[in-house]
C-alpha cells in the first residue's frame, strides 16, 4: 500500500463518541509506504470507553510516512478513559519516517496503554526512532506500561533532541501521568536481566 492518509488502521471508536471494542487483530507482513500520517495506526479514537486488546503487528515494512507505526488514543480531548492493551509490535522494518514507532496517549485523559511490547524491530533512518509518551498535548492521568527490547535502532537523527529511544512521562501540558518503561537487551544466554525492580503504582 502506498500513499493516502493512513495505510492500515485498527480503530475501536467512531466519531462522534460511539465506543467500540476490538480484540485479536493481526497486522502481518504488509508493505506500506508514503502515508501522509501513519503507515500503521492503532487508536481508540475519541469515544469514551473504547478498547483495543491483543493486537499483533508483525513482519511489516513501514516507510516514508509521517509516523511508521503509531499506537495512540484520541484525536481530540473528547476521548478519555480508553484502553489499548496487550499489543505486540515485533519484527517490523520501520525506516525513513519522521518518527519510526510512536506510542502516546494523545489528548484526552485517563487512558490506559499497558502490556505494550516493542521488540526485535529494525528502526532506521527516521528522525525519531522509538518514542513512548505517558501523555501528549494536554493529556492527563494516563497509565503507560511499555517494554522496549532487542530492537536495532540506528541512523536516526533528531538534532537537539533524542533520536534513538525516548520515553517521556508527559509532553506539552500533560500532567499526572504514570509510566513504567523497561528498555532491555537479551543476554547471550537468552535470559533477560532481573533487577528486583518494583514500581510503586498509585493505589
Amino acid at each position: 500500500m502506498q500513499g493516502g492518509n493512513t495505510s492500515i488502521f485498527v480503530r475501536a471508536g467512531s466519531v462522534p463518541g460511539f465506543p467500540g471494542k476490538v480484540k485479536n487483530t493481526k497486522v502481518l507482513a504488509n508493505l506500506v509506504s508514503g502515508a501522509a500520517f501513519q503507515g500503521i495506526q492503532v487508536s481508540t479514537r475519541d469515544a469514551v470507553g473504547s478498547s483495543i486488546d491483543s493486537t499483533t503487528i508483525t513482519g511489516n515494512s513501514s516507510s516514508l510516512s509521517d509516523i511508521g507505526i503509531q499506537l495512540f488514543t484520541n484525536f481530540s480531548a473528547a476521548g478519555s478513559n480508553t484502553s489499548i492493551t496487550n499489543t505486540n509490535v515485533t519484527d517490523n522494518l520501520v525506516s525513513g519516517n519522521d518518527i519510526g514507532i510512536l506510542v502516546n496517549p494523545f489528548m484526552g485523559d485517563n487512558n490506559t496503554l499497558t502490556g505494550i511490547t516493542i521488540a526485535r524491530n529494525t528502526v532506521t533512518d527516521n528522525n525519531g526512532g522509538i518514542i513512548a509518551d505517558g501523555g501528549e498535548t494536554s493529556s492527563n492521568g494516563n497509565l503507560l506500561k511499555v517494554t522496549i527490547k532487542d530492537n536495532t535502532v540506528s541512523g536516526n537523527s533528531f538534532p537537539g533532541g533524542a533520536a534513538g529511544i525516548l520515553v517521556r512521562g508527559g509532553l506539552l501540558s500533560s500532567s499526572n501521568n504514570h509510566v513504567d518503561a523497561r528498555i532491555l537487551k537479551e543476554r547471550s544466554d537468552g535470559q533477560y536481566r532481573e533487577w528486583n525492580y518494583r514500581a510503586r503504582w498509585p493505589g
Binding site: 501523555g135 520515553v167 517521556r168 512521562g169 500532567s175 499526572n176 509510566v179 513504567d180 536481566r193 533487577w195
Partner: protein, 195 residues
C-alpha cells in the same frame, strides 16, 4: 528519559535501562531527566515530576557530551525566560555500566543542569561502573551545574545532588555545589583509577 517536558507536571515515571550498547550518538549517550520546563514550547513550567530509575549494565561509548547524564531539573537548554523546572525528584541507581570516551563527563549527576530551576533533588548511587577516557571528569556531581561552553548554568537555588559512589573504576571523580545556593552531598569509597 523525561518524566515531564514542556509545561508538564506531576508525572511519575519508572524506568529500567539495562544491557544496551549505546555508541556514537549526537549528544549524551543515555539521558535521564525528571523535569524539563520548555523545549518545543517557548515557555513552560514542569514541576513536581518524579523519576525512579535504574541504568544498569549498559555499554556507552564515544559521545560528544556526557556518557550517562542524570539531572532532576532542567529549566531549558538555553536558559531562556519562562522555562521553569522546580521541585522535581530523581532516584537513580547507576550500576555496572561501562562508559568510555565521553567528551564531557563519563557519568554526570546533577540536581539541576541549566536554566530556571529550583529545589530539584537527585538521590543516586553509582556502583561498580567503569568510566574512563572522559574529556573533563569520569564521574562528576553538581548541586547546580555551573555551565560550560555549550550549556548555560542553572539559575536557581536549593537544588541538591546526594550521591554515593563506590567500587567504580574511574580516574577523575569530582563533586561540587556548583552555582551558589545549590548543594552536593557526595561520599565515595573503594574507587580505583582506570588502568
Amino acid at each position: 528519559m523525561l518524566a515531564g517536558q514542556d509545561n508538564s507536571s506531576s508525572n511519575d515515571m519508572y524506568a529500567t535501562i539495562s544491557g544496551n550498547t549505546v555508541e556514537r550518538n549526537d549528544g549524551n549517550g543515555i539521558g535521564a531527566f525528571a523535569g524539563l520546563g520548555a523545549f518545543f514550547l517557548p515557555t513552560g513550567t514542569s514541576n513536581n515530576n518524579t523519576l525512579d530509575l535504574e541504568i544498569t549494565g549498559n555499554t556507552v561509548r564515544d559521545h560528544p557530551r556526557t556518557g550517562i547524564s542524570v539531572a532532576s531539573g532542567v529549566g531549558s537548554s538555553d536558559g531562556r525566560a519562562g522555562a521553569i523546572a522546580n521541585n522535581n525528584q530523581v532516584t537513580a541507581k547507576v550500576n555496572n555500566n561501562t562508559v568510555e570516551d565521553s567528551d564531557r563527563f563519563g557519568i554526570g549527576i546533577v540536581g539541576a543542569s541549566s536554566g530556571l530551576a529550583n529545589s530539584n533533588q537527585v538521590s543516586a548511587e553509582a556502583v561498580k561502573n567503569r568510566a574512563c577516557g572522559s574529556g573533563i571528569t569520569d564521574i562528576q556531581v553538581y548541586g547546580g551545574f555551573p555551565g560550560d561552553a555549550s550549556t548555560p548554568p542553572v539559575s536557581g537555588v536549593n537544588n541538591v545532588a546526594q550521591v554515593k559512589a563506590t567500587q567504580n573504576t574511574a580516574t577523575t571523580i569530582a563533586a561540587a555545589n556548583g552555582v551558589a545556593g545549590n548543594f552536593a552531598f557526595f561520599t565515595q569509597s573503594n574507587n580505583v583509577p582506570c588502568p
